[in-house]
C-alpha cells in the first residue's frame, strides 16, 4: 500500500513495516541534495515528530515521522551519496523504515492519484 502526505513524503506499507521517503516533487523543489541526517535504528517517534533532516544547496528541511512507531532500518547509502534522493526519490532514495504502531493513523493520507492532483493544485 503506497500513501502520500501533504508534507510530500511517501510511505510504502508492507507486512506492518512502513518505508518512508520524500516525493519526486519534494526533491525537485529542494534542488541538489547534499546531506541527509537519518535517525538511529531503534528510535521511537510519534506521528509528526522530526525524524530526519534533508539538506540541499538551498535549504535544510525536516523529514517528519508520518506515523507513530520505531525505526527498524535506515538507508545508509544516503550518508555517502545523498544525491540518490534526487535520482531515485521513490526507490533507492528511501530514508528509513519504521513499525506501524497504529494503523488508524494511515487514514487521511492520499493515494498516488490524489497526491498527483494535490501537487498539480500547488502549481
Amino acid at each position: 500500500m503506497l500513501k502520500f502526505s501533504e508534507d510530500h513524503e511517501w510511505m510504502l506499507i508492507e507486512n506492518g513495516i512502513a518505508t518512508i521517503g520524500i516525493t519526486d516533487h519534494a526533491q525537485s523543489a529542494l534542488g541538489d541534495i547534499v546531506f541527509v541526517e537519518l535517525p538511529e535504528v531503534g528510535a521511537s517517534f510519534n506521528k509528526g515528530d522530526d525524524a530526519a533532516v534533508v539538506e540541499s544547496v538551498k535549504a535544510a528541511s525536516e523529514v517528519f515521522a508520518p506515523l507513530s512507531g520505531d525505526i527498524t532500518a535506515i538507508n545508509d547509502v544516503l550518508e555517502g551519496e545523498p544525491g540518490t534522493v534526487n535520482s531515485s526519490p521513490m526507490d533507492d532514495g528511501w530514508f528509513f523504515k519504521m513499525t506501524v504502531a497504529d494503523t488508524s493513523e494511515l487514514e487521511g493520507f492520499m493515494d498516488e492519484a490524489a497526491y498527483g492532483e494535490f501537487v498539480a493544485g500547488l502549481e
Partner: protein
C-alpha cells in the same frame, strides 16, 4: 531624521498579539532602579574639562606595558608587531563584522579561509570555523554541539577549566537540556584533577571539557582521557586559553580531541580590557554539520577560477530559523583578521620560537619563585604560567605588589571565591617579561612574605 521602521499601529498589533498592554511591561523583570538608574553627572562641562577629568581617571590605571607584568589567566600580554595594526586598518579589510553579502568580499573570505586553515593546523583538527565571540562562548557552543552529536546531555567539566568559562557554560545552558557536572579544581595535584574527570565518565556522558594548560598552568597528557571518553561514546572537548602554547605542546587533535575551542587573543590582539576577543572552534570532518558558526570554503567560479564562498549556510538561523544548528551566525572578523596577519608573519617556525621564549621566561620565573623562602611552586609541568602558594593571603600580596608598581598575577580566590584557595597566586611570563622584571618581582615579594 530618525528612521523608525515600525509605526505605532504596527507596535500595537504586535503587543495585542502577545497579550501585552505596553512595551514597558516587557521589561518588568528588570528592577526599576536598574532599568533607568540616576546617573550622577554634572549638567554641563566643556570638552577640555571632560578631557582633563577623564585623563585623571585613566591615570589611576597601571598600564600593562609600563610595569613588570605577570597577569595571565586567559588573557595574555604578547608583543603584537606594528605591521598587524597597519594591515588590519587597510580599507579593504577594516570591519568588525561578518560579511552578509559575502561573495562580493573575496578578500575578506580569503583571509577567513586562511584563518580557518591556521586554526585547524594549530589545533590538529580537520576543520575550523570563521571564529566565535571568545573562548568562553565557544566552550559553551562546544558543549551544546556534543549534545547534538551524541544525543546525550551530561557534560563533565574538569576542575582545571577557567572558572569564568565554566560560569559562561552554566549560564548558556541553563535553558537547554544540558546538564553540567562541574568538578573541583585541584591546583596542587593535576593528575588527581584529571583522574576525577575520567572517573566521572559514564554511558550518559555527552562530553568532557578539559583545559590545557589548565587554569593553574599544568600541562596535561590528554590521551588517557580521550580513550576513557571514547569508550563511553562521549566527546573530548579541549579548551586552549593560551594559543601560543600550541607552538610547543602536542596538539589536542593528536591527543584525540573531538572538538577544540580556544581563545585566540594571544595572537595579534592586545588585552583590550578583556575584549573584544576571538573564539576558536575546530572539529573533525564527520561533525562539520553540527558545528556552530560561519564556515568559509574554497571553490571555483563559472570560469574555473579559484574563489571563496560561505558554505553550509543552510544550517544557520537566517535560513533554518528556530531549527538552526546554533544562534551564532557571526564571527569576530577584525580580531580574527589580526590573528591571521600575526600568524602569517610568524609562520610555523616563528610561533615555535615565540613559544620557546615564553617557556624559557616561565622557567626563570619558576626558579625565582622557588628560591623564595615560604613560597611553594605547585607545578611540575607548565607552559608560560605557574601557580604558587604563599604564606599569606594572595590578594593582600597582589595589592601590596601593585602599590610598588608590580602586577604579579591573579589570586586564585578572585576566580574561585570561598574555595579555601586564598593563598594561591597564578602568574604568567610571556616573551614581554624581562629578567629585570623577574628580579624586581622576586625582591619585592621576598620583602612582603617575610
Amino acid at each position: 531624521m530618525r528612521y523608525l521602521p515600525l509605526t505605532s499601529s504596527d507596535r500595537q498589533l504586535m503587543l495585542d498579539k502577545i497579550g501585552v498592554r505596553h512595551v514597558d511591561d516587557l521589561f518588568r523583570d528588570v528592577p526599576a532602579d536598574d532599568l533607568n538608574p540616576d546617573i550622577d553627572l554634572p549638567r554641563r562641562k566643556t570638552e577640555m574639562e571632560v578631557e582633563r577629568y577623564l585623563s585623571k581617571m585613566a591615570a589611576k590605571n597601571i598600564a600593562a606595558g609600563s610595569v613588570p607584568f605577570f597577569v595571565g589567566g586567559g588573557a595574555y600580554k604578547h608583543h603584537v608587531p606594528a605591521t598587524v595594526d597597519h594591515m588590519i586598518q587597510r580599507g579593504e579589510f577594516l570591519t568588525a563584522y561578518t560579511p552578509y553579502q559575502p561573495e562580493i568580499a573575496q578578500g575578506t573570505l580569503q583571509y577567513i579561509f586562511e584563518f580557518q586553515t591556521q586554526v585547524a593546523q594549530l589545533t590538529g583538527m580537520d576543520v575550523a570555523n570563521a571564529s566565535m565571540y571568545d573562548g568562553s562562548t565557544a566552550t559553551a557552543e562546544a558543549v551544546m554541539m556534543a549534545r547534538r552529536v551524541t544525543r546525550k546531555k551530561r557534560a563533565v567539566v574538569a576542575g582545571g577549566l577557567h572558572p569564568h568559562y565554566r560560569a559562561v557554560v552554566e549560564t548558556t545552558t541553563q535553558f537547554t537540556d544540558d546538564e553540567i557536572i562541574a568538578l573541583q579544581a585541584q591546583p596542587a595535584d593535576a593528575a588527581a584533577e584529571l583522574q576525577a574527570v575520567i572517573d566521572s565518565i559514564d554511558e550518559t556522558t555527552s562530553c568532557v571539557v578539559v583545559q590545557n594548560p589548565t587554569i593553574t598552568g599544568h600541562v596535561l597528557d590528554l590521551r588517557p582521557l580521550a580513550e576513557a571518553a571514547h569508550a563511553q561514546k562521549a566527546l573530548l572537548i579541549v579548551v586552549v586559553t593560551e594559543v601560543v602554547s600550541l607552538g610547543l605542546v602536542m596538539s589536542p587533535g593528536e591527543m584525540g580531541a573531538d572538538i577544540v575551542v580556544g581563545e585566540g587573543q594571544s595572537i595579534g590582539n592586545g588585552l583590550n580590557f578583556g575584549g573584544p576577543y576571538v573564539g576558536l572552534f575546530a572539529t573533525n570532518q564527520k561533525y562539520v554539520r553540527q558545528m556552530p558558526g560561519r564556515l568559509c570554503g574554497e571553490t571555483v567560479d563559472a570560469d574555473g577560477k579559484r574563489g571563496f564562498v560561505l558554505t553550509l549556510s543552510t544550517r544557520e538561523q537566517h535560513i533554518r530559523r528556530e531549527k538552526a544548528t546554533s544562534n551564532i551566525c557571526t564571527n569576530s572578523s577584525l580580531c580574527s583578521l589580526a590573528f591571521t596577519v600575526h600568524m602569517t608573519l610568524l609562520g610555523e617556525k616563528g610561533l615555535r620560537e615565540v613559544a620557546k621564549v615564553n617557556h624559557h621566561k616561565a622557567q626563570q620565573l619558576k626558579a625565582a619563585m622557588a628560591a623564595i623562602e615560604r613560597v611553594e611552586v605547585l607545578n611540575d609541568t607548565f607552559f608560560n604560567e605557574i601557580t604558587i602558594r604563599l604564606p599569606k593571603d594572595a590578594t593582600v600580596v597582589v595589592e601590596g605588589l601593585a602599590a610598588k608598581g608590580i602586577l604579579a598575577g591573579i589570586p586564585m580566590a578572585r576566580l574561585t571565591p570561598n574555595a579555601g584557595m586564598d593563598d594561591l597566586l597564578i602568574m604568567a611570563a610571556t616573551e614581554t617579561v624581562t629578567e629585570d622584571d623577574i628580579e624586581a618581582l622576586a625582591a619585592a615579594l621576598k620583602e612582603l612574605v617575610q
